[in-house]
Amino acid sequence: MLLDLQGYESTILSGAWVTLQVALLSLFVAVVLGMLGALAKLSSITFLRWWATLYTTVIRGIPDLILMMLIFFGGQIFINEFNVTINDWLNEYFQGQDAAHEWVSYLPDYVDVSPFFAGVATIGFIFGAYMAETFRGAIIAVDKGQLEAARAYGMSSWMVFRRVMFPQMMRHALPGFGNNWLVLLKTTALVSIIGLEDMVKAAGDAGGSTQMPFTFYFVVALVFLVFTAISTSLLSHAEKKYAIVSR
């Protein structure tokens, strides 16, 4: 039988759970960054617009694998050098105040960037750029007059956003958001390359020890198809919810 997993079912299953966690956490990061990016892109402050454009352009021009390796391998060095510099600076300052001051690590001297953190940070960062584009389009699509009307009623900026902007922009954002989520889900497979024990890594290990790599990778492919199918049905449900009911 092709799909006999020889007792590795639980390994694959716990790997699938890791994959799902990475995907959902990255989605959260991406939505936050995307919202900030979209607002920055539409802002009247040139500086913010410039940075947001740089962000979306650079991210969309570079493969996600390169960015992930850069953050995984480089992030560690960067954080540690940053922390050591801050520690040196603080200690020198206190030594100037008080000659008896002893060297203290205010920030940890050595931080280990885990593959989980690097994976979530990178995927969130990448898809933040795509979300920013989606949200920007959705915000533009909301009728300006309605925002002005809400303002005229004396609503605060937050209330205008929550009551008028958000429910309407969701309608325009959902298709793009759904596409981004489906791509993001598939991108999570990359975290196995930087050593995270996700579904792909589990399948690789199991496939190696049982001499059945095809079987295990095929199972992983099927799990991804299941995730995709569930997402698609949830998304079409949500799209119906936010759709305008036309008569």
């Binding site: 493969p63 996600d64 095809f214 198809l225």
Partner: protein, 247 residues
Amino acid sequence: MSLEAFFLWFSQFEYVQLLINEWPLYLSGLWTTLWLVALSLFLGLFIAVPAGIMNNSNNWAIKFPAWAFIYFFRGTPLLIQLFLIYYGAGQFLANNEHPIALAIWPWFQEAWFCALLAFTLNTGAYTAEIVRGSINTMPSGEIEAAKAYGLSRFKIMSRIVLPSSFRRALPAYSNEVIFMLHGSALAGVVTIVDLTGAARIVNSRYYAPFEAFITAGMLYMMTTFVIVFLFKKWEARWHKHLKPLKV
């Protein structure tokens, strides 16, 4: 400062040193990436056009295989597809005495062949959806008009349907080309020295993740911009009739 002195001053920086030493590696990596992507895209078209047309069919027996192929390759990560071929082929082909297995096994032991096959099938599936979409959005009035003029089926296809579908598919296809360029970074994972593979070698040689991956990222980004530029020019040519007339 003379030119020579300037170069002497310039080359003292570690990063410049690294670039001077490793430039040939990056260049050959870029070349590998480019031919791998170009060849996959070209071969993918031969899958995409029939698969796209088949997926449009009303006959279930014709539609289903194309639908299943497209659904699988669009719904699962490219990394899994690559691993299925690169690691998975051995499960069926190694130590297999069947003449076909003996004939194709050497091919599947070559990383570049596995990558080319995976990329071709993947881009074939994505492009098939583009083909299907652009044939579906063909205005029926144009075909009716062509029929009314007494054009043959072949002439309708070659003079009306294909040129106009091609024009409508161009923007989506340019996205697919960039997606494939970025997806090809995965080739570096299966021992191919493409641009990503080169960056990984440089990183392990110098333990310099920033220099290694940012250089590769810049080269990817430049390639992306060149592709975007070329497609813009191409679109301007093919969509000339849509531009407002200059008064």
